[in-house]
Amino acid sequence: MRRTFFESLSKGPLTEAPPKPDKAALAELAKSIDRAARAKLGRSLSIREVDAGSCNGCELEIHALNNAFYDLERFGLRFVASPRHADVLMVTGPVTKNMRDALLRTYNATPDPKWVVAVGNCAVDGGIFADSYAVAGGVKDVIPVDLHIRGCPPSPTELLKGLLALLESANWKAHSG
């Protein structure tokens, strides 16, 4: 253990420079986020992840945000265990009819002001599962969505770009508003 530990200390971090916030995401957010919310949330956001029907591919890449290379927490973003502690709901998957109620209840349990980030192509409009009897549609068909991060699945870098745009929007208004 000692060797691994000291090596980690002496070799410097693996963490990579952050990507630039995604421009399209900034534009989408500018429309959807109101001033009061931005002022209140400021720089640190707690995220509650909800799998509403995904194939688990998106979850794997969301997990990767916590590894040494992407180190999400350096931006003040962290995953929390309960919607009651969250500012952001990060929702994946086509929303299955079997998960619709659970998603709604999770949304209602999240205190205001809150944002919803829909992750992955399926979360946009149901993706390749859209035509099924068992699928309610994209996330926006069940709860209001502030930001979409596309991809199948989006890579951790793409996820970071979207989340940084979210943070930047929050920050910008907090200072100017």
Partner: protein, 448 residues
């Protein structure tokens, strides 16, 4: 119904015509078939005569129809689901899910506990049911392949391979040798990435963050090597019927060799760390034991079976290409606890590293795909591959135009989920995350 004769290494597929929309229950004599038959009743409306547990499965009463794959009809409000009883003094229930605390898939667990001790766990699954089988019906091979590769995202390569094998069996095609080697390379990278991630996550559930961080680094490096080879971190849509979508990128082999060097440098130290940390061993040894007779009875695949003495690996026992040409061992242990499942995965990482090396050394030249054309007839085929968590079986029927008319995808989780209920019995509630992660059953692969 598919049956394996393990001694003869042969699988037979039985077809039974349900004349009066019913069939004799297999679960009446063989419990592992229970949830599959409940799902058949819920999805197709076919009655399993003699089924010991007639409650619905996968259907949670929110589809607006019943029997969506049979003769659908709309429904009113469903009857409440009755969980199995647990009676006795001082028992209390803990309902967990479908939304869990971590970044994981949704499902419902109903614990009945006496203080800390779990008396009964009952699972209720189906929350991520997307109706994959209904979407498969009438789909082109391309769309069907994309669906198969998104049945359980963590096993996308294994699913795509099994689907491709099934199509190739139906159309009597043989993919080029180079394609089978590239498929195996992708499959072993997928296995490595999942094993690294899960070993770290199991240790993290025992609050040992150092292993989690270090294994996370190895997982990330594996995904980056995969991306260098195939242009996608999880390698989705790389394997297609007839071969692979495109050849390995030029820088691929070097990226994989660099990965092997890095893993061989770091991983032995992590194994030592796992083995010598008493506080970690205290949590994993003798926790969540699966008895050998259950593993055998349920045909539990993957590390769940192999940690409990079931000596089966589809790569070795069914010898699909190119594994007949490659040398590897299938580790088997008897203890059946969380620790044994971790050790099976450690040993499998070592085997996969050797397999990757052999694949790179022996990678034949040539084409990477053949054209897939319908033969103008209705035909059926089956494929079985060894995903990181166990055997994936895909059976399909193609119509005369070469479209999929029926396709069933069966994840190893169907026969592992029921064993988790038994494994947790008499353990403390706090050890459930550890047991659950050591199984890491697929929700999406099971719920379809």
């Amino acid at each position: 119904m598919a049956l394996l004769d393990q001694a003869a290494r042969d699988i037979c597929v039985l077809t039974y015509v349900c004349k009066d929309r019913s069939f004799p229950s297999v679960a009446a004599k063989h419990p592992p078939a229970l949830r599959l038959e409940r799902a058949i009743e819920s999805l197709f409306g076919l009655k399993a005569v003699g089924l010991p547990d007639p409650r619905p499965w996968l259907d949670l009463g929110s589809w607006d129809v019943v029997h969506p794959l049979g003769m659908p009809k709309s429904t009113g409000k469903p009857a409440p689901y009755a969980f199995l009883p647990a009676e006795g003094e001082g028992l209390h229930q803990i309902p967990v899910g479908p939304v869990h605390a971590g970044i994981i898939e949704p499902g419902h667990f109903r614990f009945t506990a006496n203080g800390e001790r779990v008396v009964r766990l009952e699972e209720r699954l189906g929350y991520v049911h997307k109706g994959i089988e209904s979407l498969m019906a009438g789909a082109s091979l391309k769309s069907a392949g994309r669906l198969a590769g998104r049945t359980s995202g963590d096993s996308t390569v294994a699913y795509a391979c099994a689907f491709a094998q099934a199509v190739e069996a139906a159309l009597q095609l043989t993919p080029p040798l180079r394609a089978t080697y590239l498929r195996a390379l992708a499959a072993e990278l997928e296995r490595l990435a999942n094993h690294f991630g899960d070993i770290g996550a199991i240790c993290n559930d025992a609050s040992f963050a150092l292993m989690h961080a270090q294994c996370g680094i190895l997982r990330e490096r594996t995904l980056r090597a995969a991306e260098a080879c195939f242009g996608h971190r999880l390698m989705m849509d790389v394997v297609i019927p007839g071969g692979v979508a495109h050849d390995m990128a030029q820088q691929g082999a070097a990226a994989v060799r660099a990965l092997l060097v890095e893993v061989r440098r770091l991983f032995p130290r992590l194994i030592e760390l796992y083995d010598n940390t008493a506080s970690l061993q205290d949590r994993t040894v003798t926790t969540g034991i699966v008895r050998a007779e259950y593993a055998r009875q349920f045909g539990a695949g993957g590390y769940v079976g192999r940690a409990s003495g079931r000596n089966f690996d589809a790569r070795r026992d069914l010898r699909y290409a190119p594994y007949g040409d490659l040398k590897f061992e299938v580790p088997v242990l008897e203890a059946g606890d969380v620790n044994a499942r971790v050790w099976i995965r450690i040993r499998e990482i070592e085997q996969s590293l050797s397999l990757v090396e052999q694949i790179l050394a022996a990678l034949p030249a040539g084409k990477v795909k053949v054209t897939v054309r319908s033969n103008g007839r209705i035909c059926e085929g089956m494929g079985v591959t060894e995903a990181f968590r166990g055997d994936v079986l895909v059976w399909l029927r193609l119509d005369a135009k070469g479209r999929v008319s029926r396709c069933h995808l069966r994840d190893a989780s169907w026969f592992q989920w029921p064993l988790l209920e038994v494994a947790i019995e008499d353990n403390i509630v706090a050890d459930f995350p550890l047991c659950n992660k050591s199984f890491n059953c697929s929700y999406s692969g099971h719920d379809l």
